[in-house]
């Protein structure tokens, strides 16, 4: 394997930054320092002015394979991930059929092993994501699955959720909850409020999410089993997580770029590209989610990358499926929310790489199975999963230029700051100069 030397970038560690060169040899970081000598055939990258950090890790990617390959495949999704600076993604199990058994998990891992980035799998908590009987978490854990979720819906029955938490704890795995009370969210298609009422659209109230967050905090107290909250979207949800964490409960939380970039007003024209669950909230909630990036309430930014075909997104708002693309613009939107040129690179990599890798147990100290290590320090000996991110470059989102098979981005035409220049996966350049290598 050829070597790569990244010159003169701002290397972002867990606690400090320093301008240095990074030498990658045989898939591993060989040296970090000033004016490194590189082997003669090394690929030289000029990273002046760029941040060099651990490759991004997405806790929440819908790759749609198996079942909905017309919207995305593991291969196409991994291209989108690479362009977005991600070196690892966690494939969500709400495929068709759901990833609730060893055969399907193995299929996704096998396909993933041929993809551009590392693909880890989240298993379903319950059979068929029906919220009734536990999926074989032990067998899946033996395969390397470390995160379990029925994402798309939350586990509605508190007794089932308690049982799942109790079962997961000794396995050393973490459950992740999509918090929405199914009865209260009902058939709603956007945030409940004055706008939904004026538009004649049935709403999903913030309380539908908050009730399940509150319930699950109590279940974590009862079971002492770690729990991760997916895509929290309201100020109340985040405040409850903060209070629970202050008590020492093992709770982590992610937020999604659309919840801190957009608000419900985007739905005013009935454009289903802005339909997502949980829905885009009020501007007050969106501001609270944005604040969670810096006040510590959010551990991670996760994309909830949810490809859908154009024909489905063309349906009337209430009939169209929920979800939007995320992988290719998440880093830029996070930078924007962190204050663009004022953004703290340490926080940026904590939110997009180090914390998600810790939550999903993808780090070297987690002894990963079937994939390399992610989210570590940029030091000699670490697996070379790296991203070179230019925090000053401007670009405009064009739906037709995205790598995803689907084009359901809510940001078409939007000007963004900050762009992934180079993505290095297991020592190989998969993105070079902003394009797939």
């Amino acid at each position: 394997m050829a070597s790569v030397v990244v010159r003169n970038g701002t290397v972002v560690g867990p606690r400090s930054v320093a301008v240095a060169d990074v030498l990658v040899v045989d898939g591993v970081i060989a040296a970090v320092g000033e004016h490194l000598e590189a082997p003669r055939d090394s690929r030289e990258i000029d990273a002046t002015g760029c941040w060099v950090g651990p490759g991004l890790v997405d806790l929440h990617t819908h790759l749609r394979e198996p079942g909905r390959e017309s919207a995305e495949t593991i291969e196409s999704g991994s291209r989108a991930a690479a362009v977005g600076g991600f070196t690892a993604v966690i494939a969500m199990p709400n495929t068709e059929p759901a990833i609730d058994n060893v055969a399907l998990a193995t299929y996704v891992l096998d396909q993933g092993s041929r993809a551009l980035v590392d693909v880890a799998v989240a298993g379903a908590i319950t059979h068929g994501r029906l919220g009734e009987r536990l999926a074989p978490m032990g067998e899946l854990a033996a395969l390397g699955v470390r995160l379990f979720t029925d994402d798309g819906t939350g586990v509605q029955d508190a007794a089932v959720m308690r049982r799942a938490l109790c079962y997961a704890r000794p396995l050393g795995v973490r459950l992740a909850q999509h918090c929405e009370d199914g009865h209260l969210a009902g058939e709603g298609s956007m945030n409940e409020g004055a706008l939904s009422s004026r538009l004649g659209l049935i709403g999903r109230p913030a309380a539908a999410e908050e009730i399940m967050v509150a319930r699950d905090i109590e279940l974590v107290r009862l079971t002492d089993s770690p729990l991760h909250f997916l895509h929290l979207s309201t100020a109340r949800s985040l405040a409850m997580v903060g209070a629970a964490r202050d008590e020492g409960l093992p709770i982590t939380a992610e937020v999604a770029p659309h919840h801190f970039t957009l608000d419900e007003s985007a739905c005013a024209n009935y454009d289903a590209h802005f339909k997502v669950n949980p829905p885009l909230r009020s501007s007050t909630d969106a501001a609270a989610v944005r604040a969670s990036l810096t006040n510590g309430l959010a551990d991670a930014v996760a994309t909830d990358h949810a490809p859908h075909t154009a024909e489905l997104k063309d349906l009337p708002f209430d009939e169209a499926p929920a979800g939007m693309l995320g992988l290719e613009h998440a880093a830029s939107l996070t930078l924007e929310a962190l204050g663009a040129s004022q953004a703290d690179p340490i926080r940026f990599f904590a939110l997009l790489s180090r914390n998600p890798a810790r939550i999903a147990q993808l780090r070297r100290e987690d002894a990963p199975v079937r994939h390399s290590a992610h989210g570590g320090s940029v030091v000699a000996g670490e697996d070379a999963n790296l991203v070179v991110f230019d925090p000053a470059e401007r670009w405009a989102v064009r739906a037709e230029r995205l790598q995803s098979l689907a084009a359901n981005t809510p940001y078409h035409g939007r000007e963004l700051v900050g762009r992934v220049r180079w993505t290095i996966v297991r020592g190989s350049l998969v993105v070079a100069d902003g394009a797939l290598a």
Partner: protein, 327 residues
């Protein structure tokens, strides 16, 4: 603020100005006379094509629109969901594109999804789209014909034509809208029309049938129907939408009728001049007693017959656009 609907799509009454509303009412009044002719036709939209697309069950609105288009001499393409390829899985977008390929001037659209009319107007920006009811959102021509009917009756009582009164008869007019507000596109269009025309609007409904944002509406909420009976100049009843599961929002139809139905006992407490309206179809014995529906103050049939001139006016203004001559 929309100052005139001429040459525009009509998707909602939200933001339509008093002047624009009066223009529609006055235009409709000029079309009432056509109804009295032996040959009930004017050539205003001769050679124009109007598609009537009803993706949801409807008889009166559809017949009313199609009659209106024919009286204006437009060619009418009529598509009901049962006979369309929508049932074969064709998308709304493809259906519209197919019909548009036949050459269209206007689409009259009824759809069970809120916002469907606005979406269609994006698909075919060169075609005027008239919302004939979309989900829980709006039913603009119903709001217009309700206002038209009120003005017509009040003007008659004064021996005037509606057009002579402009919007003056609405100034301070006390309108009470009762029943399933939250699930009603008619309520949203009625409130927009009455408030823009200058009326005072109150609403009365069980707590479960009031919208979550009702405090932001330009209306006053009345907790008790009985308290507002004598206040009202106009009572607008709404259909309890059992087919949308509204029955689950009240303990029983019996209790709904007992608390918010216009029973014979309540009707006796109304001032004799108070108008009783209902957009139909009526659940007799639920929103109002059969006897009440047949009182002289109940102008429900007038609402139906006024549907035609109002829809003629809307088609004429939106399609013929800048041409100000009524043929």
């Amino acid at each position: 603020m929309i100052e005139s609907i001429r040459g525009q799509s009509l998707l909602s009454l939200n933001g339509v100005s008093r002047g624009a509303l009066v223009e529609v009412l006055d235009t409709a009044e000029s079309f009432v006379e056509v109804h009295q002719r032996t040959i009930k036709k004017v050539p205003a939209l001769k050679g124009r094509v109007v598609a009537s697309l009803f993706f949801e069950e409807s008889t009166r609105t559809r017949l009313s629109f199609e009659t209106a288009a024919k009286r204006l001499s437009a060619d009418v393409l009529s598509l009901a969901v049962a006979s369309s390829s929508v049932k074969k899985g064709e998308s709304l977008r493809d259906t519209i594109a197919t019909i548009d390929a036949l050459g269209l001037d206007a689409v009259v659209l009824r759809h069970r999804s809120s916002g469907a009319a606005e979406q269609v107007s994006r698909y075919v920006p060169h075609v005027r789209v008239i919302n004939a009811g979309d989900g829980l959102h709006q039913h603009p021509t119903q709001g217009l014909l309700d206002a038209f009917t009120v003005r017509q009756v009040l003007a008659e009582r004064r021996g005037l034509s509606g057009a002579e009164t402009g919007a003056t008869l609405f100034d301070g007019l006390r309108v009470l809208i009762v029943g399933d507000i939250v699930h009603s596109r008619v309520a949203r269009s009625d409130v927009d029309a009455y408030v823009a025309l200058g009326a005072q609007v109150r609403v009365a409904a069980p707590g479960t049938l009031l919208p979550v944002d009702i405090e932001t509406w330009p209306v006053e909420v009345v907790g008790d129907f009985d308290e507002a009976l004598e206040w009202a100049d106009v009572i607008g009843l709404l259909r309890l939408q059992n087919e949308r599961g509204t029955g689950l929002f009240v303990p029983s139809l019996r209790e709904f009728t007992a608390t918010f139905g216009l029973t014979a006992a309540r009707a006796r407490r109304l001032r004799p001049e108070t108008l009783i309206m209902h957009p139909g179809p009526i659940n007799r014995g639920v929103e109002l007693d059969s006897i009440v529906a047949d009182l002289p103050a109940a102008i429900i049939e007038r609402q139906v017959s006024n549907g035609v001139p109002i829809r003629m006016a809307v088609l004429y203004l939106t399609v013929a656009g800048a041409n100000r001559e009524v043929a």
